[in-house]
């Protein structure tokens, strides 16, 4: 692997989605976005719903939306485990708004704590999705 690259991997439970060498990756961490450059200090962080930006040189080469997950950073590698991921260009804003609407209705109808939590999560995901396309 080249010296000054970060090996970025995006993995879902069903398959390895992305695996490539990049110059920088910006990950939406639970406590704020963080950029990963080569020789980053090792760390593990949870990831909130949002957009991962992959940089080639100084420009964003790819933007991928993920619905939360975990990121592991080592000096040479950045691995993101996510349940749901899709390129931002493939998000349908209308569908995202629709799912936000549905989730809000679900929240109003929720009877148990579990249902409420699931609906709140869905709202957060949909909101992040709409923001990503804006």
């Amino acid at each position: 692997m080249p010296e000054n690259k970060v090996e970025f991997e995006l993995v879902s439970p069903e398959k390895l989605l992305v695996s490539k060498d990049t110059d920088m990756v910006v990950v939406p961490g639970e406590e704020g976005d963080f950029g990963v450059l080569p020789r980053h200090a090792p760390m593990i962080s949870t990831v909130r719903p949002g957009v991962i930006s992959i940089y080639e040189g100084k420009t964003v080469a790819e933007r991928i939306f993920i619905a939360g997950g975990v990121a592991e950073v080592t000096p040479t590698r950045c691995t993101v485990l996510a349940e749901q991921a899709q390129p931002v260009s493939e998000i349908d804003p209308a569908a995202a708004r629709q799912s936000l609407q549905d989730a809000k209705e679900d929240l109003a109808d929720a009877k148990t704590d579990g249902e409420r939590k699931a609906a709140e999560r869905q709202i957060a995901v949909s909101n992040a999705m709409i923001q990503a396309t804006a």
């Binding site: 879902s12 069903e14 760390m43 593990i44 975990v70 691995t79 485990l81």
Partner: protein, 298 residues
């Protein structure tokens, strides 16, 4: 002796059975390939999850306030056993061997005075366990691999398990499934899900990773919070992995069962054909003798 017509009928019925079993073998082979690919594709996620959890678990080990999913509820009175089988039969000893292992564990735990609850995944396991343990089966999940095995279904199961655990209904959770070794060998495996046990492989990875110096991670937010987030995910992943293995094993078992059924049918057809020809010749000889002796008597 069977008449010629009877023999003809038997031969044609065995032939159509053979056609069915060989078709099932082909289908199983195609499905097996897909199941194997799926199992392979899911491996990177599980491996990385293992690695992270291994280092996290090591760093909170011994500290107070570790999440209950890791530390356990402090009791081991109520056991939940998830018995993963197939929805369909005709796959050799696959379902029976898993159900047998499940039965053995239930009996052993009950003998030790524990309460046992069983969650069946797959109709066949439920059918076999229902006879003896109808009262401990709490539910059955059916048609999980239809049309294809999805992570979401594993996630649903894990959420139910976690809900039960948090409500204090269960203390320990294990899953019984068949690990896929090869088409002819599937190994019935029992894996403990709650409390979390770092797999032996994760330890290996940790030592292997020591080659590029042992990494000390920063955690953001703190370990406990990440663990609280990661452990439920890991549970879903482990269940998903077990179901994938099971799926591949089922197809493998079915493939070899159908292969030997096809071969048996072939042998049977050969034997029946031999009997058929011999009988046919005997009939002809008989007719000739009758004609000749009638002629001689004239």
């Amino acid at each position: 002796m069977a008449s010629l017509k009877d023999l003809r009928n038997r031969i044609s019925s065995v032939k159509s059975t053979q056609k069915i079993t060989s078709a099932m073998k082909m289908v199983a082979a195609a499905k097996l390939r897909r199941a194997q690919e799926q199992a392979e594709a899911s491996r990177p996620y599980a491996e990385r999850m293992d690695r992270m959890l291994g280092s996290l678990a090591a760093s909170v080990a011994g500290k107070a306030g570790a999440p209950a999913l890791l530390a356990g509820s402090g009791k081991d009175d109520v056991h939940l056993i998830i018995v993963g089988t197939a929805d369909r039969g005709l796959c050799g000893g696959f379902n029976s061997s898993i159900a047998r292992e499940g039965r053995r564990q239930i009996t052993a735990l009950q003998a030790a005075g524990k309460t046992v609850k069983v969650l069946c995944v797959g109709r066949k396991g439920r059918d076999q366990l229902r006879r003896d343990f109808a009262d401990v089966i709490i539910d059955t999940v059916e048609d999980i691999a239809k049309p294809a095995l999805k992570f979401d279904s594993a996630h649903e199961i894990s959420e139910r398990v976690i809900a039960m655990f948090e409500a204090g209904e269960i203390d320990v959770c294990t899953i019984v499934y068949a690990e896929f070794k090869s088409v002819i060998s599937q190994i019935v495996t029992t894996q403990q899900l709650i409390p979390f046990v770092a797999s032996a492989k994760a330890d290996d990875d940790a030592t292997a990773g020591a080659g590029d110096e042992k990494l000390v991670y920063d955690y953001e937010p703190e370990e406990e919070k990440i663990l609280a987030d990661l452990l439920p995910r890991n549970l879903a992943v482990q269940i998903f992995k077990a179901l994938l293995e099971n799926n591949a094993s089922e197809q493998g078992a079915r493939m070899s069962a159908m292969d030997s059924a096809t071969r048996n049918a072939g042998d049977m057809i050969n034997n029946l054909n031999r009997v058929y020809n011999r009988t046919r010749q005997a009939v002809i000889t008989n007719e000739l003798i009758e004609i000749i002796s009638a002629k001689e008597a004239m």
